[in-house]
Subunit: 362 residues, 2 copies
C-alpha cells in the first residue's frame, strides 16, 4: 500500500488524509461498477446514474478511518482491510439518504438531497402522481442499494473468510442498532420534549456507537485483536461517540451554513430534539422554558426565531455545559487507550481522530 | 433433519409443506431473538416487538422453497442450508414492507400494513407531527431491519465459508436487482401507460427473477452445482418467474378479496401498470382504449369502476391471452429442467412448484 505513507507522531495527519483519499477512490470505483452493472441506460435511471457515484465521495469518511485504525491495532497495512473499512462509508450513505427523507431535509453535503433530485427529475419528465412522493420512494431505494452494496464491498474486499466471520458480528450488530436508533430518534422528535436520558440513549445507540465505537470494534475484530484491546477501544469509542454527537448537535444549532453545507439553525427549523435543545430545556428557568416551549410550537421557524432560539440556548448555559461534556469525554477516551499497549501509529491516529471529531466546524 | 420427510414423486407436496413449516419456525425464532437483542422494552418499541415476529410467518415461503430446491440439486438434506434458504424470506419481508409504503397499500396478509400499524400507534400516543409520515418512516426502518437480518441469518446459517462465498454473488445480485426493479416499477406506475416491453423488463428484473430464478440459482450456488445445472435452473426460473407475475397481476385485478387478503381490484385502485392492464391497452380497440384511458384518469376508483374495468380487460382478450402466456411459459420451464440430470426429488419439487406458482388463488 505505497499510497499510504507510514504513520507516526508527525505523519498521522498525512496518513489519515491518504486513508480518506484511498477510501474515497475505492467506494467511487465500486459504486461506479455497480451502477454500470445494474443500470442499463433507460431514461428512468438517469438521476441514479449521476447521483449515486457523486454521493459517495462527499463525506468525511470518519467511520472507515476508525475502522481501519481499529484494524491497525492488530493488523498490518492492507488494501483488503481498507476496502472492508470503506464498506462502512456506503452504510453511512444509506443512513444519510433515508434520514433526509424522514427528516424532510432538502440539502445534503451542499447539494440537493437525494429525494429532491428524484422529485425534480419526476417534474422535469412530466410524470403522473406526486413528485415529492416519487422522490422519497426513489431515495429510499437508493438508500437500500447502498446498504446492499456496503455488504457486497465488505465481502469482496479480499479479506479471508476467517477475518470476515470475525467482523460480521459487529457489522450486523451495528446495522441493527442504526435502524433501531433511528426509530428512537423519530419517536423523540415526535414527543413534546424527550428527557435527557432518552436523548443520551439514542445518541449512544444511533450516532455515537455507530460513528466511533462499532467501526473501531469492527476493524479490530477483522484483525483478531485481543479482548483487552477490544474493551479499551469500546470505552474510547463510546465516550468519543457521545462527544462527536454533542459537537454535531452544537453545529446543528450554531454552525455556519457556509461551512456545514446546511441551512443556519437547521436542527431548530426541523424541531429536532437534539442534545443541546433538550439540555437547554433542562437548565432553563421557568421563564426561559416557557419561551422555549413557544418556539418549539411554532408552525414555521424563520431566521428571527432561529436567532432568538440560539440566544436562549446560550443564556440557559446549555452551550457551555455541552462544551464541558465534550472536553470531559475526550479526556476520558484518551485515558482509556493509554491503559492498553497499542501499536504507536494506532495510538497516534486515535489521538488525532479524537480532536477531529470534536473540534470540527462541519 | 427428521422433520422433513423424504421427497419423492408422491411425497413432494408433504416435503414442501414441511419445508415451509420449518422455514417459518426458523425465521420466527431468529426474528424473536433479534427483537429481544435490540429492543429493550421502551414504550416506543411496542409496535415493533409485536409486529416483526408476526409479520415473518404469514407468507407462502416460495423463495426459500425455490432456494432449498436449488440446494437439493447438488447438496444433501441440511438444516444449515434450510436456514440459508429461509434468509430469503426475510429479504422478502423487507421488500413487502417498503413496497407497501411506496404504493400506499393499507393491508398486507390480512392485517394492517406495517406503516399503518405504526401510524395508529403514533395516534394512540398522541404524539406530535403527522401520524402517516411517522408510520411510513418507521415502516421503512422495519424493512431495513429485515434486510439486515436476512444477511445475518444467511451468515449464521451454519454453512461453511466456501458455500457462503459461492452463494454471495447471487445473493448480492438479487438484492440490487430488487431495488433497481422497484425503481422501474415506480417509474412505470408514474407514466400514463408504459409499453409492454417496459412492463416485461420490470417483471423480469424485479418480480420474476427475484421470486424464482435467483432463489434457485442461490441455492444451487451454495451447493456448488455444475454450470449446466445452473443454466437449466436459470432458464426454468426466468420463464416460471414471468408466469408467476402474470398470475399475480391477474389476481390483482380478478382475485377474490376473501382469499387474497387484499381489496378487490387492488391493482386497479392503485393504478398499477401491471401486465394485464398494459396488455389490455395493447389489445384494445380504439373505443375500448378510450374507455381504459378514462378509467386510468379517475381520481378515485370505486367498486363500480373496478367492475367496469374488469369487464373491459376481459373483453379486450387480455385475460385469455395472459392465461395462454402462463401455460406456454410453464411448459417451456419444465422442458428446460428435463434436459439436465437432476436428483429425482429436485425434479419432482420443481414440477410441483411450477403449478403452485401459476395455479394459485392467492
Amino acid at each position: 500500500m505505497a499510497v499510504i505513507p507510514a504513520a507516526g507522531a508527525t505523519g498521522t495527519t498525512a496518513w489519515l488524509d491518504a486513508l480518506r483519499r484511498r477510501c474515497g477512490a475505492d467506494v467511487h470505483a465500486f459504486v461506479t461498477e455497480r451502477v454500470r452493472e445494474h443500470f442499463t441506460g433507460r431514461a428512468a435511471e438517469a438521476p441514479a446514474v449521476t447521483a449515486l457515484p457523486e454521493f459517495v465521495t462527499g463525506g468525511k469518511f470518519l467511520r472507515p478511518m476508525f475502522a481501519y485504525t481499529g484494524w491497525r491495532c492488530g493488523g498490518p497495512e492492507s488494501a483488503a482491510a481498507l476496502r472492508a473499512a470503506a464498506s462502512l462509508e456506503l452504510l453511512h450513505c444509506f443512513a444519510l439518504i433515508q434520514d433526509d427523507v424522514m427528516d424532510g431535509s432538502a440539502r445534503r453535503r451542499g447539494h440537493p438531497a437525494m429525494h429532491v433530485r428524484f422529485a425534480r427529475w419526476h417534474e422535469s419528465q412530466g410524470l403522473a402522481g406526486s413528485a415529492q412522493r416519487f422522490g422519497e420512494s426513489a431515495a429510499v431505494l437508493m438508500g437500500d442499494l447502498f446498504l446492499v452494496w456496503s455488504g457486497q464491498l465488505l465481502h469482496e474486499s479480499g479479506l479471508d473468510a476467517g477475518a470476515l466471520a470475525r467482523g460480521r458480528a459487529v457489522y450486523d450488530r451495528m446495522r441493527s442498532e442504526l435502524a433501531v436508533g433511528q426509530l428512537g430518534d423519530l419517536v423523540n422528535d415526535a414527543r413534546a420534549l424527550p428527557s435527557w436520558a432518552d436523548v443520551l440513549d439514542v445518541i449512544r445507540r444511533k450516532s455515537g456507537d455507530y460513528t466511533v465505537r462499532r467501526p473501531l470494534e469492527f476493524g479490530a475484530a477483522l484483525a483478531g485483536c485481543a479482548d483487552d484491546v477490544l474493551a479499551a477501544l469500546g470505552t474510547y469509542g463510546g465516550l468519543l461517540g457521545e462527544a462527536f454527537q454533542f459537537r454535531d448537535d452544537l453545529l446543528g444549532v450554531f454552525g455556519d451554513p457556509a461551512v456545514t453545507g446546511k441551512p443556519a439553525g437547521d436542527d431548530l427549523r426541523e424541531r429536532k430534539a437534539s442534545s443541546v435543545v433538550v439540555l437547554a430545556a433542562d437548565l432553563a428557568s421557568p421563564r426561559q422554558r416557557a419561551e422555549l416551549t413557544g418556539l418549539l410550537a411554532l408552525d414555521a421557524v424563520d431566521a428571527a426565531a432561529v436567532a432568538r432560539w440560539r440566544d436562549l440556548i446560550t443564556a440557559t448555559g446549555a452551550r457551555d455545559q455541552l462544551e464541558k461534556l465534550i472536553d470531559e469525554r475526550v479526556r476520558r477516551a484518551l485515558e482509556a487507550i493509554d491503559l492498553v499497549d497499542l501499536p504507536g501509529p494506532a495510538t497516534a491516529a486515535l489521538t488525532v481522530l479524537a480532536r477531529r471529531c470534536t473540534e470540527r466546524v462541519r
